[in-house]
Amino acid sequence: MSQAVNADHLDELREIVAEVLEVEPEEITETSSFVEEHEADSLRAIEILARIEKKYGIDIPQSELPNMGNLRAVHDVVAQHAGWQA
């Protein structure tokens, strides 16, 4: 299920992903694939997960990693676990 998107949250998440993947934030679009387009792998996914958990003080199960393949998907997973309302 896709959630309504908060632009501030999206930008914060974009910043985290860009830092871990060592690319400019503007290269990360909502739907660009971390693995296919930004050379991510399982270690980078763990780092992204850990940073998000720390920033928002939430726990995201490792089983969600396969559902976090692009920025929009990350946003939706985090929104669900952080209880973000549109």
């Binding site: 830092e19 871990v20 060592e22 050379e39 792998d41 270690l43 980078r44 763990i46 780092e47 997960l49 850990a50 958990e53 720390k54 490792q62």
Partner: protein, 329 residues
């Protein structure tokens, strides 16, 4: 050929392009390079930190080309260093570095490096800061000992946190024999001597004595300044990472869930190197576990030498992976 700086190995074989803003270099991975016999005894893998060494040496060569023959380049900042694929004997490491000056500090250069294998696979990425010293420069090296021979005074606010670098006169909690039972690394790349303190799940204090007889001090030219004997940044980071690995492996063991597989250095981020260690000094690593996620652990901490904090480490990711084919360095 004699070197003008301490290094674990010659980590660049050839230099290609070397313009004012870019340097490209190549390193062939061979099993009989120095240090590789201990990494690991049963199979050889180019340590992740040696990829950092390769990038560092490429930038040293760039500095000599573009900032004068006597220029040196000290690593002062690792914003990010991440590993994606292992390098094995027979692989070719291609190093590509974009080099840019810093608007505020003429001695600082920022480097974005991308390292790939012969087959084009991404091996590592890095974003680094290096301090360039040109010949005759008065700017001291990080941690340079003043001419009087006295230790540098602590910065205002104090880098000597009381209790953070205690004088340890009691017996270690893990002696060298015990360290060897925990870590798979072997001579000469086993870079933890003893563990002074260890609280599973929390922190470790581990030591490593730096000696002039180590392989990284072989083949040095004569009449070099003291700064040339700084313990290599690559080995400094490796020693810190191994200290963290001891903490993690012992933590997992204490919890009854021992970690099995190949130890992988995933990344280092937000590392500031403000000093250096010389032969005769003892490195003291203070490493804390930040969080554990499955077979991965994130740690942070600092590195001390001779009572002075010489580096802070924002984050190191270590992991274990079952098959080598899926493993990073």
């Amino acid at each position: 050929m004699s070197r003008r700086f301490a290094a674990p190995l010659t980590a660049v074989d050839r230099v290609g392009t070397c313009t004012a803003t870019r340097v490209e270099a190549v390193k062939e991975i061979v099993a009989d390079d120095p240090y590789l016999a201990g990494h690991y005894p049963d199979f050889t893998i180019y340590p992740g930190v040696f990829t950092l060494e390769s990038v560092h040496q490429a930038v040293r060569l760039w500095a000599r080309e573009h900032r004068g023959g006597g220029a040196t380049a000290d690593l002062v900042r690792i914003d990010s260093l991440s590993f994606a694929a292992p390098l094995l004997p027979g692989d070719t490491l291609h190093i590509g570095c974009d080099v840019a000056g810093d608007a505020d500090d003429p001695h600082l250069v920022r480097v974005r490096a991308r390292c790939t294998r012969g087959d084009g696979t991404l091996a590592a990425r890095a974003t680094l800061g290096l301090r360039i010293r040109e010949e005759g420069d008065s700017a001291p090296a990080p941690g340079a000992v003043p001419a009087s021979g006295t230790a540098p005074a602590p910065a205002p606010g104090g880098t000597r946190a009381p209790g953070a670098a205690p004088v340890l006169d009691h017996a270690p909690v893990l002696d060298h024999a015990a360290v060897r039972r925990v870590l798979p690394h072997r001579h000469p790349v086993l870079l933890v001597d003893e563990v002074a303190e260890l609280v599973p799940g929390e922190h470790v204090v581990a030591t490593k004595a730096v000696a002039g007889s180590e392989p990284c001090y072989a083949d040095l030219a004569e009449d070099l300044p003291g700064s040339a004997y700084a313990y290599p940044a690559s080995l400094l980071v490796e020693s810190f990472g191994q200290s963290g690995a001891v903490l993690w492996l012992r933590t997992a063991e204490a919890a009854g869930t021992p970690v099995r597989g190949t130890l992988v250095f995933g990344s280092a981020r937000d590392v500031s190197i403000t000093g250096s260690a010389r032969p005769g000094q003892v490195l003291r690593h203070v490493v804390r576990i930040d969080r554990t996620i499955g077979d991965n652990v994130l740690m942070e901490g600092e590195i001390w030498a001779g009572g002075e904090r010489i580096a802070t480490v924002g984050s190191v990711l270590a992991a274990v992976r079952g098959g080598l084919s899926a493993a990073a360095p």
